[in-house]
Every structure is written in structure tokens, then in C-alpha cells.
């Protein structure tokens, strides 16, 4: 058990536990490790098992000098003007460092959450995760705000290192405030022979969300990502995603399923095959629930090797009237029929979601459609 457990096993309030449970939180005793950031305080950073360390990023920088080499390694502070400003404003980084030691088979998920409790707050986080060689781990992460927080600005950097032969399966669920701004920058390096399954579920309303991500996949490694994206009226989500198949045998499949209920979704994906024997697929499917809103899906392929196999599919459409009529003729109300079609479109059955969270996510989809989120 790591030293940081006793230091950071702070208590969450009942309200905090309640809002976090909606995005996947469970009692730390039932998870292998837990990190919870409340505003600027990493309230909980605890590990239940040997081989998993979890601590504030500042502590990690002091404890392990090699962590310095991982920070701003895949992303430069001046890469983006917002990032540059955010980095300059903060003397000390806020965020967590997770280190799963080589070969550790983590028995229960590691959970990490970010909460903004201060209305009109500003939060800038920098998290670093290292999954050691041949380690195996499931990760659950989430973001949430209490019901009284509608506005604020969250900026995050995630740098994730999946070492050779490691297996990492993750799901993240966010539930921000309806008038919030969120800018997330994530960079991932997937080592040789490693396997990554990553699912993002973004259902709740917010004003503007920019997600900027780059993933570098090594030799014979695979990455399978799915993004479930919902944009109610007043929400604009922009995704700038780039996947680089950097070495022979690298494989990637990225699927985005987007639903606009009056909101705007811009999804720009680029898949780059940089080596022979690489194989990648981009899929972008959009469903428009009303004549308002917009979905722009732009999957792009770039082959830098003549032996790179890359493909993409994109579609955007309305709810199929025949499906709606069929379900209504079967005894469902129009609203319930729409729910079922949207849930089918989002195809959560194919998405890794811990069993105990599945019903919750289904409820979130129904709530999002009815404007309840």
C-alpha cells in the first residue's frame, strides 16, 4: 500500500458522493485505487493494493525525478494559446499521478474524478498516468458538478503512457454544468504490443466543449476507442482527434456516435498510418433529433506508408420514420420509441461500461433527450 493513502484519504460529503455516483464513483474500498479532485484540492488519493500508486502530481514530481520527463512530454504549453495562459497563471500544477507498476494485474477498477463545486470557478488540471509493462487495469473516470453550479471553466491536460504489453480498459463519463466551458487536451502513447479499449460518454449539456486528443500507437499495439456524444440545444462540442499508427502492426479503430438534439457537434478525425502493416478505421455516425442543430463529421486518412490499410465511414441522418412507426405500433409512446432508437443507435451494448453503471448511463440518455440534463 502506498504512503500517500493515509495522506490523502479525505472524506467526501454526502452530496459529493451522490453526484459522483452518477458518473461511476463507488466506495474506495471496492476500487483498487481512487483519486477525487474537488476544485483545486485532490481530496482523495488512495490505493488499496501494492503495485498501484496514486498521488498529487506535485508529490510525484518530488518523489520520482523521471516524472518531470513525462510532464509536457507529449504536449507543449505553447501548443495552444489557452494552454499557455493557463500554465502561466499557475505556479503549482493540480492533478493526479497514477503509476501502475510493471506486471501488476489490478483486480478492481482504478477510479478518478474531477468535481467543480465553486460556481463560476476556474479549474486547470494536469494528470499523468503510467501503466507499466505487461500490467492490466480497468479505469473509470468522470467529471461532475453539483446541481447549483451552471457556469465555470475547466481546462485539463491528460498525458497517458501505456507501456509495452500492457492492457488498459477505460470508460469516462462527464456531467458538467449547462453553461460551462470545458477544454480538454489528452495525449496517449501506447507501447509495443499493448492493448487499449477506451470509451467516452458525453451526454450532459454544457455551453462549449473542445476535446483535443492525440494518440500514438506502437508496434503491434491496438487501440479501440468509442465516443458517445450528445449535444442538446445550446451545447457545442468540437473534437479534434488524431491517431498515429507509428510502427509496424499498429492497429486502431475509433468510432464516434453523435446525437444532436438541437446542439452542434463538430468532429474532425485524422488517422495517420506511418508504418507498413498498420491498420486503422474511423467511423463517425450522426443522428439528428430535430431540424435545429448541426453535425459536422470529417474523417480524414493519411497514409505515409504504402502498406498502411486505412478506411473510414461517416453518416448523418434523422430518426428513421419506419422504425419509429414500428415501435409505436408495438405499443410504445413516441417518446419511449425515440429513446429506444437513440439507445440502439448509440449501441451501448458494444461499449465497455461496468455492469453497475449501465442502467445509469441508459437513464442519462433518456434524461438528455428529454432536456433533463
Amino acid at each position: 500500500m502506498s504512503e500517500s493513502i493515509a495522506d490523502r484519504a479525505g472524506e467526501l460529503s454526502g452530496t459529493e458522493e451522490t453526484i459522483l455516483r452518477e458518473v461511476g464513483y463507488d466506495a474506495p474500498a471496492s476500487r483498487s485505487a481512487t483519486a477525487v479532485l474537488i476544485d483545486h484540492d485532490l481530496r482523495v488519493a488512495s490505493s488499496q493494493i501494492d503495485g498501484v500508486e496514486i498521488m498529487p502530481i506535485q508529490e510525484a514530481l518530488m518523489r520520482y525525478d523521471w516524472v518531470q520527463n513525462l510532464m509536457f512530454n507529449m504536449i507543449a504549453p505553447d501548443e495552444n494559446e489557452l494552454l499557455r495562459q493557463s500554465v502561466e497563471l499557475l505556479d503549482d500544477p493540480i492533478g493526479h499521478f497514477i503509476y501502475v507498476h510493471d506486471g501488476t494485474k489490478v483486480p478492481h477498477p482504478i477510479q478518478t474524478f474531477t468535481v467543480m463545486e465553486r460556481p463560476q470557478g476556474r479549474q486547470f488540471t494536469h494528470n499523468i498516468t503510467v501503466i507499466g509493462k505487461d500490467a492490466e487495469v480497468d479505469m473509470i473516470s468522470g467529471a461532475a458538478v453539483p446541481g447549483n453550479v451552471h457556469a465555470g471553466h475547466h481546462v485539463s491536460i491528460e498525458e497517458t503512457y501505456i507501456r509495452d504489453g500492457a492492457r488498459c480498459r477505460g470508460v469516462s463519463i462527464e456531467r458538467w454544468g449547462s453553461n460551462m466551458l470545458v477544454d480538454s487536451f489528452s495525449r496517449s502513447e501506447v507501447g509495443a504490443g499493448a492493448e487499449v479499449v477506451s470509451n467516452q460518454i458525453m451526454l450532459a449539456a454544457l455551453r462549449r466543449h473542445l476535446s483535443d486528443s492525440k494518440t500514438y500507437i506502437g508496434a503491434d499495439a491496438s487501440s479501440n476507442e468509442q465516443a458517445i456524444i450528445f449535444a442538446p440545444q445550446g451545447t457545442k462540442r468540437t473534437f479534434e482527434l488524431e491517431v498515429f499508427l507509428t510502427a509496424e502492426g499498429a492497429r486502431s479503430e475509433h468510432l464516434a456516435r453523435m446525437v444532436s438534439a438541437g446542439g452542434e457537434i463538430i468532429n474532425n478525425n485524422l488517422l495517420v498510418g506511418q508504418a507498413p502493416g498498420t491498420n486503422g478505421f474511423l467511423g463517425c455516425d450522426g443522428l439528428m433529433l430535430s431540424s435545429e442543430g448541426e453535425i459536422v463529421a470529417t474523417p480524414s486518412l493519411k497514409a505515409a506508408s504504402h502498406e498502411s490499410m486505412l478506411s473510414h465511414e461517416a453518416s448523418v441522418g434523422m430518426i428513421d420514420k419506419d422504425k419509429l412507426a414500428y415501435l409505436m405500433a408495438s405499443g410504445l409512446s413516441e417518446d419511449r420509441a425515440r429513446d429506444l432508437i437513440v439507445q440502439g443507435f448509440l449501441n451501448l451494448n458494444d461499449v465497455y461500461i461496468p455492469d453497475e453503471m449501465r442502467a445509469q448511463v441508459t437513464d442519462m440518455i433518456a434524461a438528455a433527450q428529454s432536456g433533463g440534463m
Binding site: 419506419d322 408495438s330 405499443g331
Partner: protein, 236 residues
């Protein structure tokens, strides 16, 4: 129970059904026969209120209530249910989820064996179903929906002989089950092959041609006549 009065139906500006009169009493099973394109499926679609079928004349009454202006779900809520001939694929919606949405998970468990569909709970609706599996599912769906009046659009066509008996038994069970208020159910059934007539006791047969009912009579006799003479009205 169900009455079509002088019913005419258009699709766009094209007339499909002309002046149909049809009355199915409580507990009665009626059969529609006719060549392809004669308008049989259009009758069922118009009763269920499906697009693009538009009633331009006459009326459809169910339990003495005029269905004019009612949506599909409102008709279903009144007690109408239909086994579709070509239902759409519903990717990502499993049989189990559909049953749960109808609050009929127990019925799915209880009745799926009757139609040899015990292993379908995790399958997406209609996705990858064979023609015969679709027909069996549509009958099973009616067990889940539990309507008082049953509309069947060719429930046995495309079904292999092995499963015809299962469909026949299931349709018979559905038809003979009491309605929610304890009264008898009614049914209107389209058949092309006539095989289903071996499994149910139909009360009345109607021969359709060119969007009109041109003859009504005993269903088995009418079917035998069609087998010998084709789709022409028997001599008076």
C-alpha cells in the same frame, strides 16, 4: 369490434383502396386473400395508421370509436396490434430490451419457447434474422404487446414447414386468449399460402382485387376456389 365503412385510401395522389366495407365481430377471425398488389397489406396499414396511407373517404371504427386523427401509438393503446410483414431492422435494440420497454420481460421468457426463439434475447431486433425468424418474431411480439385485436400480415410466408406448425399454434393461442376485459379477441389475417388456415378456425374470408373486396365467404372454401380458379370471384 372492427369495422371499415366505405373506406378509400390513397398513397400520395394514387388510389390504393376503394370503398372497402368490412366488419369483424367480437371473437371473429377474418382472412384477407388476394394477389400481390391487391391492397391487402394496405388495409392493415390503414387500420394501424401507418404512413404514407391516407384515408380519403369513409372511416375505420374500433370498438365503435372512429380512429380518424389518432396516431399509431394511440391506436396501439386502444388495443390494436400488428405482426408486420417486413419490419425494419433496429440496430442496437435487443429483443430483451424491447420486451423490457413493453414491460413484458416475463412474457418473453414464457412464450419464446413456443416459437423456438429462446436464444434470441440478446439479438438486435431483425438484424440478421432470416425471413422465417422475422415471422416468428412478429408473432412473439404480439404476445409481448398483448393487443385485443390482432392484425397479421402474412404470418406464415417464407416460413419453413418445420416452423409453420409453431406459428400456427402460436397464432391460435393468441387468438383464443381472452382480451384484457375478458371478452374474446378479434383478428384480421392476410395469407398467401393458406397454410395458416390449417391451424386456426377462421370465420370469414375476403377476396381482394385491385383495392376492392370482390367476394366474402367461408375461408377454406374460398381458398380452395382460388387454388383451382385463381383470384376471381366465385359464381354466385
Amino acid at each position: 369490434m372492427l369495422e371499415l365503412r366505405d373506406l378509400s385510401v390513397f398513397v400520395g395522389d394514387k388510389p390504393i383502396l376503394h370503398n372497402i366495407d368490412l366488419k369483424v365481430g367480437v371473437g371473429e377471425v377474418h382472412v384477407l386473400l388476394g394477389p400481390n398488389g391487391s391492397g391487402k397489406s394496405s388495409v392493415l396499414a390503414a387500420i394501424m395508421g401507418l404512413s404514407p396511407f391516407e384515408v380519403t373517404r369513409g372511416s375505420i371504427l374500433y370498438r365503435d370509436k372512429d380512429l380518424d386523427g389518432l396516431g399509431i401509438d394511440e391506436r396501439a393503446a386502444l388495443g390494436l396490434g400488428m405482426a408486420f410483414q417486413r419490419p425494419p431492422e433496429l440496430d442496437g435494440v435487443t429483443v430483451e430490451e424491447f420486451a423490457a420497454a413493453l414491460d413484458a420481460s416475463r412474457e418473453l421468457t414464457n412464450e419464446s419457447a413456443l416459437l423456438n426463439m429462446e436464444d434470441f434475447a440478446q439479438r438486435d431486433l431483425m438484424v440478421g434474422f432470416s425471413g422465417g425468424e422475422i415471422k416468428r418474431w412478429e408473432v412473439l411480439k404480439l404476445f409481448l404487446q398483448d393487443p385485443d385485436f390482432l392484425l397479421f400480415d402474412e404470418p406464415e410466408s417464407g416460413v419453413d414447414l418445420e416452423h409453420i406448425a409453431a406459428i400456427g399454434a402460436a397464432v391460435r393461442k393468441l387468438v383464443s386468449k381472452p382480451a384484457k376485459d375478458g371478452s374474446k379477441r378479434g383478428a384480421l389475417l392476410i395469407t398467401h399460402t393458406g397454410l395458416i388456415l390449417e391451424h386456426i378456425d377462421a370465420d370469414q374470408g375476403h377476396l381482394m382485387r385491385d383495392g376492392k373486396i370482390i367476394h366474402s365467404g367461408a375461408p377454406k372454401d374460398l381458398f380452395k376456389h382460388i387454388q383451382k380458379q385463381g383470384y376471381v370471384a366465385p359464381a354466385a
